[in-house]
Amino acid sequence: MLTYLVKRLLEMIPTLFGITLLSFVIIHLAPGKPTDIFTELNPKITPEARERLEKLYNLDKPIIVQYGLWLGKIVKLDFGESFSSDRRPVMQRIWDPKKPLLERRLFVTFMINLISMVIIFLIAIPVGISSATRRNTLYDKITTTTVFIGFAIPHFWLALLLMLLFGVTLHWLPISGLTSMNYASLPFWGKIWDLAKHLVLPIFVSAFGGLAADSRYMRSSMLEVIRQDYVTVARAKGLPEREVIYRHAFRNALLPMITLVGLSVPGLIGGSVIFENIFGIPGMGQLFFQSVMTRDYPMVMGVLTIGAILTLLGNLLADIGYMLADPRIRAR
């Protein structure tokens, strides 16, 4: 087990190297430069001024040298400084330890995604099971249609409709941002309540859209399991259907969900820019989008590298989870 882990971790190093090299080259291939925000169609910029700016950011060097410089820092776990005009370190823009949690983009995105992921699993698993056991009934059809509506409906549109209803017409919920103006002066539970009110709509919209995939996985996985011989045996023994499903079939049907959880790990730090913009949530999606649009290379590379590491770790976790859950795999 330990050798296996070490081997897997070592294998990650060349993979990660390859990912960063590819990302670096691709983002530099995109037309434009980080200095464009100053120089583009700005008549006040002379060629000398542009060269000065490019030199400041090392953009005059060949791309492979730039990659070398970046790599030299990254092995020391230094993500460098953002090219945006405040030139803050990349990590500080993602996770500033001096700021409260709600002002750290990574935390905000992680919190919202985690809550919505938990809600999705809490709903999708029972829905998947029940529609598998009631296959082709009216209930199955209604749930299937509902989750697919959630999947197909444009998020921004649903979000705007809900904001109009709950924010403007009913005045029940705030519609933008994470906290109210008087947040700082609220007592602890007041803060939680304020935050919760701000999060209801974003989490509802993101969870509603995510239900389809997970409930469908759960349904098909359950369907496969209840066709197995041991389930027939359990039924033949005369066990009540409840017990057959929830004690015997359920555990085995959950196995593919482990993979699903593993695959969701990198998604936890990735935010959707449309979603974050609509709700005014200062998360990773906005940051990444802005960084790409302004060709802020260190920032883009920082987010991509963290994403890559999490993806690889997520895969590893899924494999370990599988080993723990399924003796057949452990044996090999």
Partner: protein
């Protein structure tokens, strides 16, 4: 808006949409306002907070390092300059009480106001100006605005309250370059690298407001600076709330969480005429300092002939574009200046929609439909061209579609291609590989347009990207920037506009209106040609209408 000298000339209409508000229709005489207020008991009072919605978040609050309009808007409230524009676009003193320009136009001497204090209590002196000047011309400062200051041959501080600069040549935009870009607190920054450290996110200024708290991605909170040299601002707190989506922002406005935003044309024209909006809000409307145009690549064989460009101008109905694209909230453009500003020449050649005349001109230029397919041709080349514009800019896209439709009627086939901004500029505009493009310029408050039209500015990355070349225009541009005499400048720029209107290197399409909306409880707002927020420190909310009470 608050001294955007940095953008004096013209800066690209960037993707970032600033909701800041520029200027307006004639304000009521102050006396009238006062009478009305006294009757209502609505005299100016301190207190309350103004919450503004903004699409973009500032990136840094040091004006000379900022590239985006959100940063300039906020830092403009924190820093002042030596001079600023008055509401009629004349230059008036700000931190400088007065100034002298030597008769040859080479030396400017600024006499600074005495007793102005930085927000930390230290006195502002000429050394701070000198320090800012040295910083902006420093090779290591990543600023886009150093060029005006590199024209300075010599800068001196004869005494504590005097600052003197000497130029090589007279340079009209020089005076206004001494706006808020170059004043920095020497006592806090000397010997430090301003790009490092947290001054950019936690600045100390001397403007009407000072930073209280900046919550990343959510809001920037400013508090009034009680010792502001022009008097304590009435509104105690100014909050810049970041709402990246304009549809959301409009909903938030209706919930009362924000007090002010820039409306889109459809919001202004169609969605804010209800009783609710009439009761709770005041809307403003005035030409924005920007115009949209269609540029021709003058090197392209189709567009070398002036008659062809004029024909296209006759084939386009600008009023129709304003009505459809902007819901009437704008005016047709006739040249590169905003109507009702001093350099604007109202008497240039205008091209009323006239398809017959367009066809006539095209015929004279040799374009005929010889094969009967409905598209004109000449030497077996059909008249087909592509209009490029940037992605996700609906007004420009719609404008292109209307032009496409109109030109089809005079036998010209137009294709439209939308491109991502960087690709558009780097691969097409900079490399001159375009036929026609729809773009916009922000118009600086100074009239100098040397970089756009002068024939020496046609190299890659320079801004005469249409390759316009006219010796008389070159001469006029040179004349206009080498004198401080406004009458002489006016003469040069009036003639410039006549030539541009005749030769049409661009088709000037429209000047959109800025359409801000502000909550009705704010009084003292006086629209002017430079916007509404120039006198923000004088806005107030009468005591009985105040909504927010502030804990310190």
């Amino acid at each position: 808006m608050l001294s955007h000298f940095s953008k004096r000339l013209l800066i690209a209409f960037l993707l970032i949409i600033s909701i800041t508000v520029v200027m307006g229709c004639k304000g009521k005489p102050a006396a009238t306002v006062r009478t009305v207020s006294e009757v209502n008991g609505d005299e100016p009072a301190y207190g309350d907070a103004l919450v503004t919605g903004t699409i973009g978040e500032p990136s840094i609050l040091i004006p000379m390092l900022a590239g985006d309009s959100a940063s300039h808007d906020v830092s403009g409230l924190i820093f002042n300059g030596l001079v600023k524009y008055d509401t009629d676009l004349s230059v008036i003193g700000d931190l400088a009480e007065s100034w002298d320009i030597s008769s040859d136009g080479l030396v400017i001497t600024f006499y600074l106001r005495k007793g102005i204090k930085w927000a930390d209590g230290v006195e502002f002196t000429a050394d701070d100006v000198m320090f800012g000047y040295r910083t902006i011309i420093d090779e290591k400062t990543p600023t886009a605005y150093s060029e005006d200051f590199r024209q300075v041959k010599k800068a001196e501080v004869p005494d504590r309250y005097t600052f003197r600069v000497t130029y090589e040549k007279p340079f009209a935009p020089a005076l206004t370059s001494w706006g808020n870009l170059v004043v920095l607190p020497k006592h806090l920054l000397e010997g430090k690298d301003i790009t490092k450290g947290d001054f950019g996110r936690n600045p100390v200024g001397l403007g009407p407001y000072k930073l209280n708290k900046w919550t990343t991605g959510q809001e920037v909170m400013l508090d009034s600076y009680k010792d502001y040299f022009e008097g304590r601002p009435y509104i105690d707190r100014y909050i810049y709330k970041i709402i990246p989506d304009s549809a959301t922002m409009f909903l938030v406005l209706q919930t009362g969480e924000i007090d002010m935003m820039g409306l889109t044309p459809v919001q202004y024209a169609k969605q804010t005429n209800t009783e609710f909006f009439k009761k709770h809000f005041q809307k403003f409307r005035y030409p924005a300092f920007t115009y949209t145009y269609m540029a021709f690549n003058l090197k392209h064989p189709f567009f070398k002939d002036k008659r062809v460009r004029q024909a296209i101008a006759y084939g386009i109905d600008k009023d129709e574009i304003v009505d459809v694209v902007l819901f009437g909230l704008g005016s047709p453009a006739t040249g590169p200046y905003v109507p009702n500003t001093w350099p604007y020449n109202p008497a240039v050649k205008k091209y009323e929609y006239n398809p017959e005349k367009a066809k006539q001109l095209l015929k004279e230029a040799g374009w005929k439909d010889t094969d009967g397919d409905g598209i004109l041709d000449k030497d077996e080349h059909p008249f087909k061209f592509t209009i490029l514009t940037n992605m996700a800019n609906n007004p420009r896209k719609n404008t292109a579609a209307i032009i496409q439709w109109r030109l089809a009627k005079i036998g010209i086939k137009v294709e439209i291609r939308e491109l991502e901004w960087s690709t558009f500029i780097n691969q097409f505009i900079d490399k001159r590989s375009f036929q026609a493009a729809i773009l916009g310029w922000s118009i600086g408050l100074d009239a100098d347009q040397y970089d756009i039209w002068h024939s020496s500015k046609t190299k890659e990355k320079e801004f005469n990207f249409v390759s316009y070349n006219n010796p008389e225009v070159d001469e006029l541009l040179e004349k206009g920037r080498r004198t401080y005499d406004i009458e002489k400048r006016k003469k040069a720029y009036f003639r410039l506009q006549e030539i541009l209107a005749d030769e049409l290197p661009y088709i000037f399409l429209y000047v959109p209106d800025a359409t801000p909306i502000v909550h009705a409880r704010f009084k003292g707002i006086k629209a002017s040609p430079i916007g509404i927020s120039y006198n923000l420190p004088k806005w107030y909310v009468p005591k009985r209408l105040q909504r927010h009470t502030l804990e310190p």
